[in-house]
Amino acid sequence: MIADNIVHFARVLRDAGFGLGPDRVLAALAAVELVGLRRRGDVHAALSAVMLERHEQQPLFDAAFDTFWRDPKLLEQMMYLLLPKISGRGDKPRPPRANRLAEALSVPRAPDQPNPANATAREEVQFEAQFSFSERERLQKADFESMTRAEYALAKKLAEQLPLPIDPVRRRRHEAASSPRGGARIDLRATLQRMARQPHTLAPLYTRAREETPALVVLLDISGSMERYSRLLLHYVHGLMRRSLRVHTLTFGTRLSHITRCLRERDPDVALRLADAAVRDWKGGTRIASSLHEFNQRWARRLLGANAAVLLVTDGLDRDEHGDLGAAAARLRRLAHQVVWLNPLLRFDGFEAKAAGVRALLPHVDRMLPVHNLASLADLGRALRTPQRPTQFLLH
């Protein structure tokens, strides 16, 4: 009886998105057997110890547990409510077919790879169409159009080939080195192994500290003024994640949303659709200061360990009320190993830091990446390729 209930309970949780394998269900059965059924609190604690993986799951688990174990009648009702969902697993509504799939099916394959100039031209046409559409309809949802094949190829290429705007950091972990130069150390274990194989050689092997790209936290402004760029940048970030870099992504407009898990999806269209559903404040207003403050308080400690870098993507068009923005940016600078600001609105020549928000942010970033008229992924590529200059002189 109780076994049935636990199996059912696990199934409900699985439908709610918990990753519960059969091993966990078995462990849950054993756990409940061990603590007994006399105290409800013990059963709750036992099941949460076995079934939870992270603290964020707790509220959902508690709600499910309460409903499930309160009353068998209610349980039946709930099961009834869940029934269509459970039985309907086989025939889920199909996700809308991706643009690039339709394209691949209908259009005969292009004879050769389109050259970059060609691709850019095609893209611009498509973007024009998209802009006029979003000008007409101001929806709260981002309504991402799925990617075309050219965009997909370009996004992939950009993410894979372009240098990242952040500096690598030197780790304490060592890797094999060919020469003793540059702070290398002798690897005794490997040397001895070689000596055992080739007894007459005494050539030491070396290791040196490994340099690697640090984890990257992308803070993406998705307010109204940044609307045109969010889709592009999300595609770029998704590409970076597929390149198996450690990338965390948060969006902010009027509130901060963590969308890393959505973007882990391999397919960019599915990933962006999930992100779209998770974020509520597309195209709204901006509160950069309070968003940065919230990031510092709630997320910085969790994401900015091990010399992580921050890529801040915003136009900086916000008022610096009571110096809040400056203070929040200064703290962010202290918490992160490096802060790079990608500003898609500005051109480098003749740029003057006039907006209060820009003036407040500038002293606290290591580097600013200005992108003039970011209209396509190709523009982003150009900006990432050009060497960056320090931000200091912009403030005069």
């Binding site: 990753g19 013990d42 076995v50 939870l52 304490r172 972990r173 001895l192 000596m195 308080q297 969790r302």
Partner: protein, 301 residues
């Protein structure tokens, strides 16, 4: 030899209480299950809520050895599991040369024998005659390759050394892993553990803890201290004070012969509770007075 383990959740609570470790029932349940199901217990929570202390108290309570791996970036096998005693291996080679021993098979065998291994905590945890408590502290500070390396030890209680073979545990260790969440630990590792989020304790529980850990003050002062800290945790601070800070603060007030909280004594000792400049400024700017007023309203001052 496995240890005599507590038979119920209440027994776990009593066992830990003997070591002056006061724990909430859900935590005791998770620990009880970890002991019974022989699974590692993965503890997450804010700093200073007693995650590490739990492992220490448990080792004392079960009268067994505590083996601790303090994690940091770049931690590798040589520092945590085992290392070949290369100096000794080199001597072995020289000795073989001196007596003209050319049997390479035998030499290799003796070079990679058990005597040549230097045991580090993870390997030592597997070779003890009596189950030790293995504490992997602040796992979030280590980098991801180390998580992957831990999987075998955690799931199978064994360790594979390429040159030597597999070492299986004689008595399975009781493994506790702690994390402050400065990095997300991989799901593969979470899956192999029982999970518990250690929260700040309730007022009553924290009073009990402070009474045990900072003996000698008046009941009134204990209550003031705990209520003050509990209220502080509801403020928007960068780092809320943990239980460890509460205990330190009570001890600090005792050392200064404070009989009851007043603005001056709080101001002087605030550095014990808060370790960030911004938080200190915030508390000095009127929040201290507000909290003291609240205590006064509750007739605690």
């Amino acid at each position: 030899m496995s240890l005599p383990l507590p038979e119920s959740v209440d027994a776990v609570i009593a066992l830990l209480a003997d070591q002056n470790y006061v724990c909430e029932r859900p935590l005791a349940t998770a620990l009880f299950l970890a002991l019974k199901l022989q699974r590692p217990l993965f503890l997450e929570g804010a700093p200073g809520v007693g995650k590490t202390e739990l492992a220490k108290s448990l080792a004392r309570a079960l009268a067994t050895q505590l083996l601790r791996v303090q994690c940091y970036e770049g931690l590798d096998v040589a520092q945590t599991a085992y290392e070949w005693n290369v100096a000794r291996q080199l001597i072995e080679i020289r000795l073989a040369e001196a007596v003209h021993d050319t049997d390479r098979e035998r030499l290799t065998h003796s070079l990679y024998s058990r005597q040549m291994l230097i045991e580090r905590p993870l390997l030592r945890a597997l070779t003890q005659p009596r189950s030790p408590v293995l504490l992997i502290d602040e796992l979030d500070r280590a980098d991801e390759p180390f998580d992957a390396f831990l999987l075998e030890v955690l799931a199978e209680n064994q360790l594979t050394i390429p040159e030597y073979g597999t070492v299986a545990a004689t008595a399975p260790p009781i493994t506790l892993i702690t994390s402050n969440r400065t990095r997300e630990i991989h799901d593969a590792l979470r899956r192999r553990c029982l999970y518990h989020w250690v929260d700040y304790p309730s007022v009553e529980r924290e009073l009990d803890i402070v009474r045990r850990k900072a003996p000698g003050a008046s009941e009134r002062l204990y209550r003031q201290v705990v209520e003050f800290v509990q209220r502080m945790r509801t403020l928007d601070l960068f780092k809320s004070p943990g239980v460890a800070e509460t205990i330190d603060w009570a001890n600090a007030l005792l050392a200064l012969n404070t009989l009851q909280l007043d603005p001056a004594s709080v101001q002087d000792t605030l550095g014990v509770l808060l370790k960030h400049q911004d938080d200190l400024v915030k508390m000095q700017g009127g929040d201290t007075a507000k909290l003291l007023d609240e205590l006064r309203a509750k007739a605690l001052l």
